[in-house]
Every structure is written in structure tokens, then in C-alpha cells.
């Protein structure tokens, strides 16, 4: 059975028909063609698919598209302004928080959510806050440094 829903992704409303069991990740990646969010496990294990759903960090692989009807959704594509990277995206690069980049979209979303809830986290709070996101390439340190730096510089995320 198909359900007509509206997804407001990065400020743009999209009308799509989704199957009952279909994930938000599938709708955004395969139906809307926004492939920035990744699928690493399809089971809430890795965080690569993380999006903000009404501001809450959510593993979109394990969230039904129908649940997101009418919600405000932010994906990695929505973090910058046009071609301008957000301060967080910029320091991720400068601090060496990115290697292959496959975990990065989810990491950025998790870090953005963390900084919105807690604008000046300690390193320990960052580690706890982003520990649901797996990275297999970096040692995570660059990611922690990046989040710390953004919070110190007080840039809005």
C-alpha cells in the first residue's frame, strides 16, 4: 500500500508516495535522489544514515518514511549555505576528521545535533554524544577536535 506524504527536506517540501514498510533513508536517497546520507547497516548500528527529524538526530534507515510525514528534515546536503560549507564542515576537513568520507554525513549530523543541544561540550561529552556513529578509517580524534574547535570558536552550526 502506498501513502502520499510530504517530506520537508533542507527547507524544500517534497510530495512522495511511500510504501508502509519503507524507511525514511530509502525515500530520501532513492526517491528524492539526495544521496548524501549513507546506508552502512540498515539496522541502527552505524549512524551513517543519520538525519535531523524535527531537530532530533535519527537513524533514518530505521525510521519509517510515513512517520516523517510533514516533518522538517535536515540531511548533510542542508548543512551548508549553497556552495559555502558550514563552519563544522570546514573544520572537519582542517582537523583531519575525514578519510573515506562515508561516515562523515552521519557524523556531521550527530555533531550538529550535539552542538545545538550543548553549544560548549567537553571532549568527553562529544565522545558520548557521537558514539553512535561508527568510523572505520580515522581514529575519531580529528572529529572530536573539530567539534571542540567549532564550539570554542562559537560559530553557529
Amino acid at each position: 500500500m502506498k501513502h502520499p506524504i510530504t517530506l520537508n527536506v533542507n527547507g524544500t517540501p517534497y510530495s512522495v508516495d511511500v510504501a508502509t514498510a519503507q524507511s525514511l533513508l530509502y525515500a530520501v536517497r532513492d526517491q528524492l535522489g539526495l544521496t548524501g546520507s549513507k546506508e552502512g547497516c540498515d539496522d541502527s548500528e552505524c549512524g551513517a544514515c543519520m538525519m535531523l527529524v524535527d531537530g532530533r538526530p535519527t537513524n533514518s534507515c530505521s525510521y519509517l518514511a510515513v512517520q516523517a510525514d510533514g516533518a522538517e528534515i535536515t540531511t548533510v546536503e542542508g548543512l551548508g549555505e549553497g556552495d559555502e560549507l558550514s563552519p563544522l564542515q570546514q573544520v572537519f576537513l582542517e582537523e583531519g576528521g575525514v578519510q573515506c568520507g562515508f561516515c562523515t554525513p552521519g557524523m556531521l549530523i550527530a555533531a550538529t545535533a550535539l552542538l545545538q543541544a550543548n553549544p560548549s561540550p567537553t571532549a568527553e561529552e562529544i565522545r558520548i554524544g557521537v558514539s553512535g556513529n561508527l568510523c572505520r578509517c580515522t581514529g575519531y580524534d580529528g572529529i572530536v577536535r573539530a567539534v571542540l574547535r567549532v564550539s570554542r570558536e562559537g560559530a553557529s552550526v
Binding site: E45, C100, R127, C137, Y140
Partner: protein, 748 residues
Amino acid sequence: MTRLVKTVTEMEGRFEEKWVLVEDDGLVSWEAEAALRHVGHPTPRLTGPQRVSGAARYTVDVALPGMLHAAVLRSPVAHGRVTALQVAAAEAIAGVRAVLTPASELGFQQRSGPLHDEPLYAGAPLAVVAADTLAAAREACRALAPSIEPLPFTVDIETAWQEQRFDGDLHEEARGDVEAALAAAAVRVELVVSTPGQLQTPIEPHAAVAWWKPDELVCFIATQGMFDARAELAKRFDLPPERVRVITEYVGGGFGGKQNAGFEALIAAELSRRTGRPVRLVLDRHGEQLDGGCRPATRQTVRLGATADGMLTAIDAEALVEFGMSGWRAVTTPALTLYRCADVRGIEANLRLELRRGNAFRAPAVMEGITALEQAIDELAIETGLDPLELRRRNFADRDQSADLPYTSNSLLWCYDRAAELAGWPDRDRWREPQADGLLRGMGCAAQIWWGGGGPPSHASCRLGGDGVAQVVVGVQDIGTGTLTAARMVAAEELGLPLDRVTVRGGDTAPAIYGPVAGGSQTTPSVMPAVRGAAAAVRRKLLALAGDVFEAEPDDLVVDDGRIRSRDGGLDEPYTAVTAKLGQASIDGSGNRGPNPDGYRANTFGCQIARVAVDPGTGSVRVEGIWAAHDIGRVINPLGASSQVEGGILQGMAYALSEQRVIDRTTGVPVNATMDDYKVPTMMDTPPIVVAFAPLPDTLLNTVGAKGLGEPPIIPTAAAIANAFRHATGRRAAALPLTRARVLEAIA
């Protein structure tokens, strides 16, 4: 001058003498003191903005018009015979376009498989379905409802050893008389160590999208070796290589497990050939953890003999390998090469089990070998009462002990000193004093050896256009290691251009500029000299043209910071003063990696020190710090290099503490083939890591002085942690990883 020369090339310890085409570029390696503007300075990634904005297109993101989706049906048993598949039921599902089973006539040749009617491991592919949607393909896989007659299986190393189930011959390499030397030794130690099966677990699973067009097969593949992938597809489908194009723009991590075209690309291509539609095949996580590959488990016995003052007189290493790569024997290589010793023997048996065969995982085999050898060396230090680092220094080998050849460079002694200094090693015994928090602390070290010199063939091209922007093309893909960024830095250096006026393209076989597989730590030392050569060719041509334009002697001119200058300072013009006159023409150059120096071995070295805290109540082990010093020759990009070392260390730490493929012996099936149960470290587990690189470029090896970095950092970490555990508790666990149960048993 273009020549064909015979040179020795090496890939993960396999040496081969071959003819390669080289064009002498007349370059000499940058000296250690050379003042370089880009090379050696931390530089963010070339493709960084794409990676952080979601614009980077990985294989899993490729969507083509009319594309079908494929799903794989896998064996639920370790060994069995498929007696029936409900093909008609699968084909009846709406949207199903093709069903492949072991009975299907395939358009390509493969010795065994790819689809099995007698699966030999749990997770072996039995059938594949292509359908309009992934959901339909998966539903059809379920509808295939295989009937399987179970057959006997062996999944443990002991039984396989007793049954002498060898895969290939026993491999033995020896020099001198190890038994006599052991018998005569003043001090002897013997250690039996088991190491776990470890899964690469890239966050991006194996994936391919294939499109069989009338005149060309185009495959997007998540692979570490796009040219190898092209060769494999061409050979198996019997196509001319130039009619196969492999595109690998971004890869979400490989760690050795993504080689060649692989099952995914072969099957996707076959499905596309049959259906006339593009086909995407992405492993789901369960499939990835079952069939993406692994580092095989081992059981090793190391016996050492030494004089009372710790000089090694005998090294005897035996390894049983749990179904490793066919023909790949290197578990005992460290025993044969890391220390100076005359009487040495290494013997390895690869055992055939009903398990997924091992494949390459970062420092394959050598890491397993170091994990055992370096724990034995630690025992010898305890036995002789010597400081473990001092013992290693005393037995330092300044030549390759197996080949009896000098090294192109070897800063291992520097690594010992630097790691010790960073870690505060001289005071390490204070960690063993009673601690306020009741934990047991200790420090341990381990050394590392790996190849990583690279070699030809590897090519690059460089084109300078009228706008004064240089475009470099290389034949490799960037699997996350920053290869393209390093290429940009090297080209900018040689051309005297700012970084933003050099672009680099890779990840596509269409330009037919060959590069090696990203494996064995050979990319940097193979590709960067080729890039430098191509850039130098362009620089020379540019200066010759500048000589014409400015009526100057080209030899008196230099390039720097986007400008052309005369050595006497009289001339200082922008690049574009010459290039603007090119119109639509361009200045082109090509470069290649020169031959390896005759009569040398090129290796990387390193030392890591770990500090651990053990909770004697719960058995938990926490790594509190890792100090790593590595000799990788010249470091092109310290930002990328440190990040890569940290990532390698984390994987090595997990090998010591948490990662392990767990097989249920009663069913033969892996029970933790998910990322929930297979414990990859999270951000909470990361220790502080301090990294240092030996400041000595390898000027003999190649024109940029770099060795490779991919494998070295993972190699010594687990042994250093195990040795720190020994220091902290006075006990050694017989097997890794150090799970709580093992720890409690060891310290009981």
C-alpha cells in the same frame, strides 16, 4: 629517453622480476633538507568539500536510468548440498527481471562459483536476483526457499590440524640450524598465541553498478584496484580491455578487502548483459560481514633462543592459519626478517575449513605474525631481565635477513628512541605501583616491519592549459587515504604553482593511464614519483617556452608560487604571461615510476608503545595511550598521514580487545555478522594517540623519498597492548582478543 628495463617489484612481500617501460625523467630525490613549499605541510583533502557536503558520489550512490537492483541469496549452513530452489516462484514476483542460480549458463568464466550448489561456508552465494526494486529482489530471494541437505563441516583449527586438512603445501623457510641453536641457547622461551579472525568492516559495503552497453561495459565498482578490476572483467568476459571502463570515484574504505572486480561487479555485469539494463548490486551488512572477507585466525608457536645478554641465537616460528588466502604465506615473515639472527625457521600451514576464505586485510599475515613474535620477544626480555626496548635494539637488523640485502633506508632505532621518549618509557615501572583507583596498569612495546617500497609500473600525466592551471591524471582511485591530495601537492611543488591551480583526476580507467592497486602500502611510493615526473616534464617545456617569450636562457629560469623567475631576480612574470599565448593548446607531460634500486630491499619500520589499565574485578582492559613512531620515508601530507596512523592503530587495538569473528561450532555459522555484535571501536573507546614520523626521506628508493603508510600502523598495536597487559598483570592471555572472560581467567 624511453627504455625497457628489468626491475624487481614487490607486492605484499611477493617479489617479481619484470620488464617495465621507463622514461628517464632526470630527477633526483628531494633531499632531507630541501625547502619544500607544499610537500610535508599539513594539507586538507582535495575532494574534502565533496565529502563533507554529501556531493561525493560513491558506487552505492550511482543511479542510472532503468537501473535494476540485485540481491543475493546466501547459504545458511557451513556445508551442504542445495537440492532445490523455487526458481519459478521467484520469477513470478512482480518486477523480477533475472534469476541466476548455479544452473545458469553464465557469460563469464570462473574456476569455482560464483554461485554454489554445494556451499562451503555460511554466507556463500547460492543465487542472485535482479528486479525493478531492491524490495522485489529481496522478496524473490526469499521465495527461492532453498532445500539444503546438510553435510559435515569443520570450523575449528584443531580438528583441521588433526585431520591434516591443508590448503596447498606446508610452507617452510629456514636458514642455519634452528634446532641445534635452540638446544645450545643459554636462555629459551616458548610461547603459544592464538589470534582472532578479523573482519575489514568498511562502512561502505562491497558494491558495483554495471552497464553492459552495445560497445562498452561500464562498471562503477567500490574497489581498491580499478585497473585490476578492468583486467578481471575483460578476461572473464573475454572482452578487449579497452572496451571495459571501470569508474571508482569514491570508495568508502577498503582495508584490503576490496580487490579486483569481485563477485559484485562480475554478477552485476552478467545481470546487465542478460537484461540490457544497468544493474546495481550492493552487499547488505549481513552479507558484508559474512562474505566481505576477513583476516584469518591463527594459532602460532614461537620459540626463541638467546645468550644471557639477550642476543638472539634462534628463532623458530610455526603458524596454523584458519583458511587464509591461497598461496599467501607471510605469517612467519617477521620472524625471518625483523631481528638479526643466523638460525631461523618459519613454517606455516594453511588449513582448509568450511569458513569464508581469508583475503587481504591491512598488513595481511604480517600483523598476525608480529602479534605472536613480539609477545615472545617480550617474554625473552622478562627472562633475560632486559628492558624490552633495549633487547630489541641489541638485535637490530641493518640488512634484510632473508635476502641478505641492505635496506634503502631503516630508521627503526630512531623509532625505538622516539616512541620511548614520547611515552615516558624509562619510568614505565611506576605504572605498576598500586594505583589509587585499584586498576592494574602497565606499558608494553612492539616493533613493526613491512614492505611498502612500491615500484613500477605506475604512470601519470600532466597538462598545463592557457589559464595556467595544471591538470594531473593518475591511474588510481582514492579509497580514503588521500592519494589525490598527495598527488596535487607533489605536482604543485614541482610546477611551482599554488595548490588551487592544480587539479587531480583519478578513479577512472578511461584515460588509460595506469596505476597500481591500492594495497601493500605501495600507492604513494609508486604513484607520487610518476606525478613528479609528469609535472617536471611540463615545467621543462614551460621554461623552454618562457625562454622564447622573454628571450632568456631556460636554464636560468625557475618556477615558484605561480610565477616564472630568473635566478638573478631580473625577471618575475606570472605563469600566464607564457600560458596565455597557448590559445587552445596545452603543455603536456607524462611521467612514470622509475625502477627500484638494484640490490636493495625497501621496507617500512616502526615501534609502538601502549599503556593499559586492567580492572581485576571485571576483567575490562582499557588502552590509556598509544605512542607510535614510524619510518615511512618522506611524509607527503602530515595531516592525512597522522589520521591514517590513528585509524590503523584503532583497528589494531580492536584486534587486541574486541574484534573477533565468532563461529558457533555446533552449526559452523558466524554468530556476530552484524555491526552490533562485531565490536568495532566507537568514539568512546579511542585512546589518546601520539604519532611521530622518522625525519629521513628514502632518497635511494624514489624521487619523492616516500615509502608507504597503509599497513604499518596496524601491525604492532595488538602486540604492544598484549605486552602492556603482561606488564600490568604479570600474566599473558593465551589468545586475543582480551575479552573479559579471558582476562579474568588469565589473572585468576
